[in-house]
Subunit: 407 residues, 2 copies
Amino acid sequence: MRPFRKLERYDAALNKVLERVDLLDDVIISVEKSLGMVTAEDVLSKIDIPPWDISAVDGYAVKSDDVVLASYDTPVKLKVVGSSMAGKPFRGAVSKGKAVKIATGAVIPKGADTVVMAEYTEEKNGELFVYTQSPPGKNISKRGRVLRTGETVIEKGRFISPVDYGLMLQAGVESVRVRRRPRILIFSIGDELVDSASDLRPGYTVETNRRIIGRILSRYGIVDDLGILPDRVDEIAKAVTADGYDLSISFSGTSVGERDLVRQVVEESGEVVVHGVSQKPGKPLLAGVIGGRLHLGLPGFPVSTLMCFSQFVIPVLYKMLGVRDEWPRYRLRVTLAESVACEPGVRCYVRVKIRDGEAYPLTVAGSDMLTSVSSADGILIVETDVEGYAKGEMIEVIPIDEFLGLR
Amino acid sequence: MRPFRKLERYDAALNKVLERVDLLDDVIISVEKSLGMVTAEDVLSKIDIPPWDISAVDGYAVKSDDVVLASYDTPVKLKVVGSSMAGKPFRGAVSKGKAVKIATGAVIPKGADTVVMAEYTEEKNGELFVYTQSPPGKNISKRGRVLRTGETVIEKGRFISPVDYGLMLQAGVESVRVRRRPRILIFSIGDELVDSASDLRPGYTVETNRRIIGRILSRYGIVDDLGILPDRVDEIAKAVTADGYDLSISFSGTSVGERDLVRQVVEESGEVVVHGVSQKPGKPLLAGVIGGRLHLGLPGFPVSTLMCFSQFVIPVLYKMLGVRDEWPRYRLRVTLAESVACEPGVRCYVRVKIRDGEAYPLTVAGSDMLTSVSSADGILIVETDVEGYAKGEMIEVIPIDEFLGLR
């Protein structure tokens, strides 16, 4: 059994990996199918929103000059000459001494330059009493107020949210240029692995890494799951060289033991980019390039694999997709309830629970303990050159869902 | 046009609404289909994890007494009598002076009480030199260390995350009792509404509220979209009384104008629970009960409707689903860059951008401006009894995706 030749610093390792990642092609798709995809261009409004000057309230469209002296004690009397309802605009014009009844959203008739809210008026037999003045532009939502034709609806490099989707519909955008979804191949390796606890025999392990991460990955791309491969070089080689994928990810088989075959396959078929990262948990991370495609080998211990997923796979996906959104989006500033130590030169991922603004490191937290992730509220990253934090220090915790890319 | 008789305080209005919400039935479903659903019981492990005492490293299973004097200068010599590989346990027992080669995850053979890491040994022709002592239990992952049979995998009332899903697979849980997904009917009301900008005519509006919120709702339940209904009492009545739904939501038609028909329908077919809330934006919220079912009428302005969605619909869904997870999960503590004012007695939702730890309130932010939500980083809630915040005050902002229930 040979040790890792050299553990890379996390930041150096990540850079080496990202250097081998290309931006995916862009494609044009219907706005209806765009949710969760990443824009590949600034999306511009096709129309003015609103497309006309419209009323922001229910009331009466008038000339502001006509009501300049109106007050509660000295109402101004105007003649109602018609109505402008949403969908049924007033066809004429408002002239001096005249008013047009108007609904929220309806088009401001020609000649009117202000809208008096219904609450400040009284209409009797076609006569309108106006009890307040109303300066020009009051209660009018000007054409293009929300967005003008050609203004940016969503910037390039953003995940399209439901609100963005609605805004595109408002803006008359019917299709949008986005990055195509990456095709990702995932598989686990190990004669001792089974997919179900009902198949357990002594020394076997239920493999769940691939399925946890497969579920998360499906939010970003199209995932094909090969299942569990045996410890056989030919089968692994077939998987890492399978055509049609932008990224392949294997689980288990990357630490340095006799039966760890991923490195061997990558060496034979391509090039090892990184093997062994100075981080804890997650040391055995392997990154290789085979036929121009990146392969990431994540370790078998559940916590290790999730840390590697967060800190390597998510940045890879962000680069492929050209994402400009910040990640993680949130960091919680909390007080550390107990001191935390991390070996010098190692980047540590400390699972913490947060209670009343205090972060409690989980003490029983081996890298085999998936419970230490499922019960954690977040992750405190102790950077490579930091040796720890003292009790009472203010620290930043990444919420666990955010850390795992669950958006 | 009649004014709102009385605006309810937000907290009183929400309580009135939640009083009319029942917990949904529970159903048993396959773990494979459980992601994103809410547990209706504490989920218990069916097995011990790990199911046997296993090795946490690659190395040699030995008796700790045999190596108690081992050191780099005075190695202890043992005889290797076999191997315990993952999936292929050693059938015999380790007796005094003997060692069994063992792989990570493999079962600890009888007789051994410790594992020496391979790095601290040397094997030559069946003889093992051990260069370190190893106390009892060292490098052994005891049966049930992660979870014991009957221990809680996920508590009742939690959204099932991908990690929870994996943990259930590890724990031999094949099916799980969850709340059934709520069936939600949504529709918009208004002769002046269209679904596409290409159908716009003067005074018409592209209706996007229903579709934005429909997309968010589909993360929580099964959504049926009736589309846009005309301003006709009979059509609206048919929708709010349609069978088979746990909740119905209409968009537009709730403010107090001649053509606002939802209140009329609710009064005729059932009972108005709340109409008009002292909040900004979002005042015209309507809640009614028809035939035992809650109907929520959200206002037409896009920002108003999203604020009502967040502050009323999400709490309703959480109660239906019996969610015990906290919401919002994150609040960001930031400094306010400009003062914010809110009328006394009104609860205000201020959209803010966050830059370098400072929150900038969006100044051009009418309730018609969906851009003020799409460009916001979060929402500052100014509670009913608070009149505002001064520049420089430390405040809490709810990230916009969290505010909108995007989990």
